[in-house]
Symmetry: C2
Subunit: 214 residues, 2 copies
């Protein structure tokens, strides 16, 4: 099926002032470096899973060996414009999923439904595999998982939900960093360690602390 | 392998005053009913996946058609005493995982490692499949995922991590109820609906509200 070809994967990315909910533990420059580290982990996994990644950036941006498409519009507009030009299946995958594994990517792109959805926590959508991009559109924000199911149903497309903890873990808040420190690797984990961010244990609950010498 | 036999599954359960972190949206009687509803969903999935469930309760407790074992000690002591008596593989699964699917249960019990671990968020452990229960022990609380990896390594046992969003979703806090309302079914979803708990959308973020007439 699709596994014998390289699946086209698009990664929306905001290089400037990303991840503002991490401002309590990282300044803007660090958040930009961290976002790039997470992007790097996602790119590596996509390549390992046999996909052909393309970064959809809000501003001119270069990443070694990866094609970049620039669209300054907001996420839905930029992605839907992009999808309308694609004639083969597309994997839309967020850049803040550093725990994503090649196995999880293979599970979504080897599915049999018209649309494969990886939910994020809180009703989000972390990845979408769309066999016929011109017959579908995305609607992020709010309970986008429910919207993406409904959009498939309205278009007469079948869908399936891919059950992956690692791919459902998007990194938005300080508490999410715990997941990288426990389960992660690659550039994101290295960045956190270099920045002095480490696990803390208070009253039996796992949290995050930053060493004062950084 | 193990799939041809019924896998023994133990579910620790606290019937009295459970889930205190849900106190802001449920009184004690409701929390007890909700905990039982979630337990019911877990039991149903285990039966559907071909497992033989046993409830390890802190107090005398009856559940139709399911064997119950009483141990009033805290979780680690009770479970380790239980495991020390088992001579065949055991699945330890928490009772607050109402999104668990038969597929995820089959994935863990059909693994090839000595120990299969399903992480929860924040370093937790939501399920453990232990092939040789007398050669292993559990240590919940804190970053138990890391402890359970280390205990396997110290005992010379191989381990694998099972990647499931649905099984990694334990229901502890108000925000976790969002996952049941979006992805759930069965008794837990029915209970939330009957209790008047529903999704809310505020500034693009999905939350929980309780109708005032309840």
């Amino acid at each position: 099926m699709t596994e014998s070809h390289q699946v086209h994967a698009v990664i929306p990315f905001r290089p400037v002032n990303p991840k503002t909910r991490l401002s309590a533990v990282m300044d803007q420059k660090e958040r930009e470096a961290f976002a790039r580290a997470m992007l790097g982990d996602v790119v590596s996994v996509l390549l390992e899973a046999g996909c052909l990644p393309c970064i959809l950036s809000t501003v001119p941006f270069e990443y070694p060996g990866v094609r970049t498409h620039i669209d300054e519009r907001e996420l839905n507009e930029a992605l839907n414009a992009y999808l309308s030009l694609q004639e083969t299946p597309v994997l839309v995958i967020m850049s803040d999923l550093p725990l994503t594994t090649p196995d999880a990517v293979k599970r979504i792109v080897s599915g049999t439904a018209d649309v494969g959805i990886v939910p994020g926590r809180g009703g989000g959508t972390n990845a979408l595999y769309i066999r016929t991009p011109q017959a579908y559109h995305v609607d992020y924000y709010g309970a986008s998982f429910c919207d993406h199911v409904r959009i498939a149903e309205d278009a007469g497309l079948s869908y399936e939900v891919i059950d992956s903890f690692f791919m459902s873990t998007d990194i938005d808040e300080k508490e999410d960093l715990v997941e990288i420190l426990i389960h992660g690797g690659g550039r994101s984990l290295s960045f956190l360690r270099e920045t002095g961010l480490a696990l803390s244990l208070e009253r039996g609950r796992v949290g995050i602390q930053r060493s004062s010498h950084e």
